[in-house]
């Protein structure tokens, strides 16, 4: 099968690709970038990273409330002998952290109770 100019369809397709090489390169690059950005965003949202990201809109200044000292905990050496001294050393390190853990009653209370937010059912009016 051939067209009026004597060029077959099979010959025309490669020449079309050759003519629009730059356009296709740019288009392809944009599509690949969009796909990777979508995958990245999906992973950001589903992995729980978003919940740890304090630079999100609406969380300005919250990062100042993050306590730096907690991550500076001395690591207990993973190798070495076990004796009275090393067990006491571990006990001392662990007790310090245990106090940090149990001293704050995190997520306690009921700040989302309807009455605390003022959205509870109003009392029925007496007649």
């Amino acid at each position: 099968m051939s067209d009026d100019d004597g060029i077959t369809r099979d010959e025309r397709v490669p020449s079309l690709l050759a003519e629009h090489r730059l356009t296709m390169l740019i288009g392809g690059s944009i599509i690949i970038a969009l796909v990777f950005a979508a995958i990245g965003l999906m992973l950001y949202n589903t992995s729980g990273t978003a919940q740890l990201d304090l630079s999100r809109p609406g969380f300005e200044g919250v990062d100042k409330l993050v306590k730096e000292g907690q991550t500076n905990l001395v690591e207990y050496p993973a190798s070495g002998p076990i004796n009275e001294e090393t067990l006491t050393q571990f006990n001392r390190l662990y007790q310090t952290q245990l106090e940090n853990v149990t001293s704050v009653d995190a997520f306690s209370g009921d700040p989302m109770a309807p009455d605390a937010l003022g959205i509870d059912e109003p009392p029925a009016e007496s007649e």
Binding site: V62, L73, I82, E84, F90, L117, E121
Partner: protein, 183 residues
Amino acid sequence: MKYSIHLLVIVSMAAVGAIFLTVNARSLDILPLSESHKARIVANCTSAKTSLQQLHRSDASLRVNRGQLYQSISTKLMARLNSRLALNRLDGSELVAAAARYERSLSQFRNSYQAYEEQLSALLRINCQKQPDEFYYRTLDVRERRQAVAQTITDLNHYSIEYHQIFERFSENYRTTPGMETE
């Protein structure tokens, strides 16, 4: 063949029926609010949203702080002691089991906080002036999710205390029975 097709049809119908009943049972829980209740929500909508936004921010920092603290106990203390005991051929199986329970609880804390935070963000996007019903029932749902997070914190505290108690028992045994290496 015919028998299995009949069985398949019956199972499918039962499944559809169960889903229908579950959805209906759930919709029965969500009763329409009275007009006075809706009016109260609309009136207090702005202040309720402000309180929720503040809670969102304070819970975010709490999540990061508590997460770091619990994670450091696991990686910098528990895992390292367990490894050291194993290298010294000492029986730390109870400590390993306690550390595994702690780690599971830590994972539950991360998951439950994520679910809570996603729902709280969705709640804050609701226009409570126009959708007071939706806002109210979503608030109740998010409240339950926050209580689930609080429960995981209680569990984590419990398991960290449990690990310490097992460690103290181990130390006591070690002092009274020197050379308690595993075979």
